[in-house]
Structure formats: structure tokens, C-alpha cells
């Protein structure tokens, strides 16, 4: 083998969690639980009700606690919302966390079975 690198691809997270509404302490606790369970697969978190990076503020302690698993956090944008239903086959989404039951109607129909109100 030469001294150059052999390229192996980045392993994308294969478990996805969608969060609708505010990132409450209850949502954080649930995320911790999901990270313990699905962390080895890598976890993608989509903050579906937020578009600004400032939404990460409420996740800061949770993100700082993790130094083991691959984590990606997305905020929502119009293009992401359009793609959500296509990209997220229900087998990939492990949970949809909703901070208030009124928000359930915003969840794509194919993911309603994964909804947890926290």
C-alpha cells in the first residue's frame, strides 16, 4: 500500500428523528434515549419547525454531552420540507417527536405512526 490515503466514504447517519414544535426538556430527554438506542447507526435530527441556526441553542447541552456517535442536525427550509416525504421512508425515521398534539397535522402522513408527543 502506498502512503496516500485510501478513500473510504463518510458513513451517513441512518437513523432519523424529526422534531416538531419547541425543543423542550422532554424532547431532549427523548433524544438522549434515542441516541443511546440508535447512536451506533448515526443519528440525524431534523428540527422541522425551525429554520435558523439559533434553534441549536436549546440542543447545546445535549450536543456537548455526545462524544461518541455521529450526529447531524438540520433545521427546516422550504426545500427540505418538500423533500421530507420522499427522503424519509418510514423505515429510516425512528421517531417523530412533537411538543404539542396540535402539531401532529404537520407531520407527513407516512410518518404519523412514529409520532411521540412529549
Amino acid at each position: 500500500m502506498g502512503i496516500g490515503s485510501t478513500s473510504r466514504q463518510y458513513r451517513r447517519p441512518s437513523a432519523t428523528v424529526l422534531v416538531y414544535g419547541e425543543v423542550t426538556p422532554g424532547v431532549i430527554d427523548k433524544l438522549r434515549e434515542l441516541l443511546r438506542l440508535h447512536g451506533p447507526r448515526g443519528l440525524k435530527i431534523i428540527l422541522a419547525s425551525h429554520s435558523s441556526p439559533r434553534a441549536l441553542e436549546s440542543l447545546r447541552d445535549f450536543l456537548h454531552e455526545n462524544y461518541t456517535f455521529t450526529l447531524e442536525v438540520y433545521t427546516s427550509s422550504s426545500s427540505l420540507a418538500e423533500k421530507l416525504e420522499k427522503q424519509l421512508a418510514s423505515s429510516e425515521a425512528v421517531a417523530v417527536l412533537v411538543s404539542s398534539s396540535e402539531l401532529i397535522n404537520q407531520v407527513p402522513r407516512s410518518l404519523v405512526s412514529k409520532v411521540v408527543v412529549v
Binding site: S5, T6, L56, L63, E65, V73, Y74
Partner: protein
């Protein structure tokens, strides 16, 4: 030729610090009693660049990202911050790395807290982000991705992330994820706001590319990760990997070809290269130095990024490894000293047991103060000059712990060294704790600050004479002398102010 993917940082990072790595630390302080431009001249002079604005030397981390992207086929390069405009028309992704974006890391946060004045590195980074060229790039839709060892700081500055249009914050080893992110950005796909690169995505030794351009002061990584597990350190959270000798030598040669006048072997503990756990093995360490010295010749300087004090003691007492390395391989008429960073952190075995139980291994943690003294003596006898850190304000620290630290520092007086106090910064496994700030100082802390300052001043001139012996260094040396005289006066003032704060 113009680059589609531009990698950069601010001036305090994009500099070779006059070939003296320790001068880079001056950028972590506030510009006191001196125009900021003069301060920057001391710590961060501009680098030579080619016609495209590519610097002759660049921070090692940026070089790794550049190599990973070039190997993946991207039109990417490290560009000096003063030359970004040359690539504005072609630029689609701007990658920005830093050791301390917002001066929240050690020791910047400490100088800031003590003096109340914003450090130079923070000012310099803000200037970069607010510069017309970066603003124009963003206006044209360039994706901005930030990362490096200080990525965690962005989670405290999300309003600025929004204001400056930062698309993605990357925390962790970047060689693999950067390829994925740049691909996504160029395809116009949604980027994550934040990525933490987990252990599963840390590159293996084979996946770490060889740098293609020279690194600042010839820094070359020989290991990644650390087996000691200190709670305040983030490096220890990464898997341990040893770089094969051929890879290290290839990077040394990249630097030699570029005319860099020094080599810094980088590791959390250079003496643990291919070690048996925390016990050094002489053969790989000697072979590494033999081969590196062959390539750099007589005149280039050689430094170690870090060693741990327990390894220094063990290596010398069991194998005479330190004296062999220094006397038979490294030192000569041109290389009169070897600089290295070491961590004392505390003089209290009780606190050491709590926060860094692995740091004294293979010796018991109760021996920590003795290990420090023995290692300092060994280094002094072998012309190794340590820049040592001591952390004040660790969680659970007591006044008695600080007193033990003061006593230890006093016993280190006979040994040529710099001792730098650092206020605790929540990093590594202690990331969820709070910063230690000026208002939390106790009388013992002030005494500790004074003792460490006196130690450093006592040795500073001697070290400057040995370290900056070329006539080319004369202007910087004079400025440093002036600076030291000013700091002595200023420290007396600040100490009385701190004492008043403590009394209140």
C-alpha cells in the same frame, strides 16, 4: 486558475509566528499598551504567498482538509485571508478552521477574564468574518462551513452564525466528512447545521492523507488521540492511531522542499510513538528521530508538540532515552534547545486522582508532584525547555489543592521552563461544567498566578537568548523585552486589582 473550494482562517492562525511557535500564543492576549498592528507583527506576521494567494506554510489542520479534498478531486486550496478576493468569482464553498474562534479556549479566555479586554485572536477572527470579501462571498451564495478544534464554541455564538451566514458547524475529525459536505454544497443540497463526527467516522491511518503543502513551522503529526484519558481534554476522546514512519517522513519532506526551517513532531506525547500502552518503547522513538534528523539536516530546528511528564521520567530512568535522543541525535551547535509543551495541571495528588488519574501512569497518582519534579530535572539536564500549563479552577478544586500547586511550582524554580496558568475551560468529559472566571478567584489563586508569573519571568530572558539567536530575530527580541517589562509592571497593577476583587 481560481478555486471553487477555498480553505482559510484569520491572520493569527495563518502565520508562522516568525518561526517561533510560542509567539503564536501572544495572539491569545489582549493588545495592551501597544497598537494592535504592532502586536500582530510580533505574533502573527503575514506569510509569503504565491500569485494565487496560496501561503507557503499553512495550519496543519487546514492542510489535511486541503489534501483530503484534492485527493477526492475537488478544485480546492488553502488561501491566505488577504487574498480571498482573487477567488471570489469561482468560489462556491468557503471552509474556515480555527483553534479558538471566539477566544473561549485556554489561555485566551483567561487573559480576557483577567484584563477585561478582548484578545487579539478574537478581534482578528471577527475582522475576517466581517470583511467585505467574506460578506460579498455570502451575498453571492457561497456556502460557509466552519470547523476545527474550537467548533464547540459556535454553539455559544449562534446569533453570529446566523448573522455571518454560517451554513454548517463541524465538530470532530474532518478528513472524511468534509468530502461529503463539499459534495452536497456543490450539488446545492441541504447542508446540516451541525455535524459531530463520531468514532465510527474518524479516519483510519490509511484514510488520513499526506499533506500536499507545507505546514506552519513544519508541524507533522506522528500520532492522533491519547491513551491517558484526562477528563478536561478533548483529544483523549479520539481513538489512538500511530502514523507510519513513511507517512511522517513524506510530510517532513514536503516541508523541507518548501524551505521551512523547522520540524515540530506533533502528538499528545511524542515519546509514546508506537508505545506499549503508556510505557514508551525506545526503538520506534529513536528510529523516528534518526530518520527525521537525516532529512532535516543540521540547521533546521526540531521541537516536540507535547510530551507527558510521566513518560519523560520513565523513558529516562529505564532506557536513558531522553539523553540518547538529545545528545546523540537532536542537539548540535544550531539546535541548542528543544521546545515542548507539557501539562502539570495540578500539584495536588487528590485532584489529580479526580481528573487525570491516567496522567501519572505507569506510576501511581500519589507520586504526581514527584513525577513532575523528576521530569523537569531530566528535561533541564537535557536542554529540553518545557512550556507547562497549570489549570486553576477545576470543578471540585479546594484551596488546599491550589496550595499544593503553589508549593510544587516553587520547587520547580531551578529548572528552565515557562509555566502558564490556565483558567478551567469546560472541554472534554467536563464539557458541561462552567468556565472559571475572575469573580471566582480565591486568595490562593492569586498567589498561584504570582508564583507562576515570577517563575516564567525568571527564566524568560535565558530562554529568549537560547531560542532566538539569529540576528533576524533582533527586532522581535527587542519588542519582546519591552513587552516583558511592560507585563511585569502591568501584572503588579492587575494583581492588586484582583486582590481587591477577592476581598469583596
Amino acid at each position: 486558475m481560481r478555486f471553487e473550494v477555498v480553505i482559510t482562517s484569520d491572520r493569527t492562525m495563518m502565520s508562522n509566528h516568525h518561526g517561533k511557535e510560542f509567539l503564536g500564543f501572544v495572539a491569545t492576549g489582549p493588545p495592551i499598551r501597544m497598537p494592535e498592528r504592532l502586536w500582530l507583527y510580533i505574533c502573527a506576521p503575514k506569510l509569503k504567498v504565491d500569485e494565487l494567494g496560496r501561503p507557503v506554510e499553512a495550519p496543519y489542520g487546514l492542510r489535511k482538509i486541503e489534501a483530503a479534498l484534492q485527493e477526492a478531486g475537488f478544485n480546492a486550496a488553502v488561501i491566505d485571508p488577504d487574498h480571498l478576493h482573487k477567488h471570489l468569482d469561482a468560489m462556491r464553498v468557503l471552509l474556515i478552521g480555527h483553534h479558538d474562534f471566539f477566544a473561549y479556549g485556554p489561555p485566551s479566555s483567561e487573559w480576557w477574564s483577567i484584563t477585561g479586554i478582548e484578545p487579539v485572536n478574537r478581534r482578528s477572527f471577527f475582522r475576517l468574518m466581517n470583511s467585505p470579501v467574506v460578506r460579498e462571498a455570502k451575498h453571492r451564495g457561497v456556502k460557509i462551513i466552519v470547523g476545527g478544534p474550537a467548533a464547540w464554541q459556535w454553539l455559544y455564538e449562534l446569533e453570529l452564525a446566523e448573522k455571518w451566514g454560517v451554513d454548517t458547524i463541524v465538530d470532530g475529525e474532518g478528513e472524511k466528512v468534509v468530502v461529503e459536505l463539499v459534495e452536497k454544497a456543490l450539488r446545492g443540497e441541504e447542508l446540516p447545521r451541525y455535524v459531530y463526527v463520531g468514532v465510527d467516522n474518524a479516519p483510519s491511518v490509511n484514510e488520513i492523507p499526506v499533506i500536499r503543502g507545507a505546514s506552519v513551522n513544519g508541524l507533522v503529526e506522528i500520532m492522533r488521540g491519547c491513551p491517558r484519558g484526562c477528563k478536561f481534554c478533548s483529544v483523549t476522546l479520539r481513538p489512538l492511531r500511530f502514523m507510519p514512519l513513511e507517512k511522517i517522513l513524506a510530510e517532513v519532506e514536503v516541508n523541507v522542499r518548501a524551505g521551512v526551517k523547522s520540524v515540530i513532531l506533533h502528538s499528545e506525547d511524542v515519546l509514546l510513538y508506537y508505545a506499549d500502552g503508556v510505557k514508551p518503547r525506545p526503538e520506534p522513538v529513536l528510529r523516528l528521530h534518526e530518520e527525521v534528523v537525516k532529512r532535516i539536516g543540521e540547521r533546521r530546528s526540531l521541537a516536540w508538540a507535547h510530551v507527558s511528564l510521566a513518560t519523560v521520567k520513565y523513558a529516562e530512568e529505564n532506557y536513558k532515552l531522553i539523553s540518547k535522543l538529545t545528545r546523540e541525535l537532536i542537539l548540535n551547535d544550531y539546535r541548542r534547545i528543544i521546545g515542548v509543551e507539557v501539562g502539570i495541571e495540578t500539584g495536588s495528588p487528590r485532584l489529580a486522582r479526580d481528573i487525570m488519574v491516567g496522567k501519572s501512569k505507569p506510576y501511581p497518582v500519589e507520586m504526581w508532584p514527584q513525577i513532575v519534579e523528576d521530569a523537569f530535572r531530566i528535561m533541564h539536564e537535557n536542554m529540553i525547555v518545557p512550556a507547562a500549563t497549570v489549570i486553576l479552577g477545576m470543578p471540585e478544586e479546594t484551596s488546599d489543592d491550589v496550595v499544593k500547586t503553589i508549593e510544587l511550582v516553587e520547587r520547580l524554580r531551578p529548572y528552565r521552563s515557562i509555566i502558564v496558568p490556565m483558567f478551567f475551560v469546560p472541554m472534554g468529559a467536563l464539557k458541561r461544567n462552567k468556565w472559571f472566571l475572575r469573580d471566582q478567584l480565591k486568595p490562593e489563586h492569586i498567589e498561584a498566578l504570582k508564583v507562576m508569573f515570577d517563575h516564567t519571568v525568571y527564566w524568560a530572558e535565558d530562554i529568549m537568548k537560547l531560542h532566538m539567536n539569529s540576528p533576524a530575530h533582533l527586532p522581535v527580541k527587542l519588542l519582546l523585552k519591552y513587552f516583558m517589562a511592560y507585563v511585569k509592571w502591568r501584572v503588579r497593577q492587575i494583581t492588586s486589582r484582583l486582590e481587591e476583587i477577592v476581598k469583596r
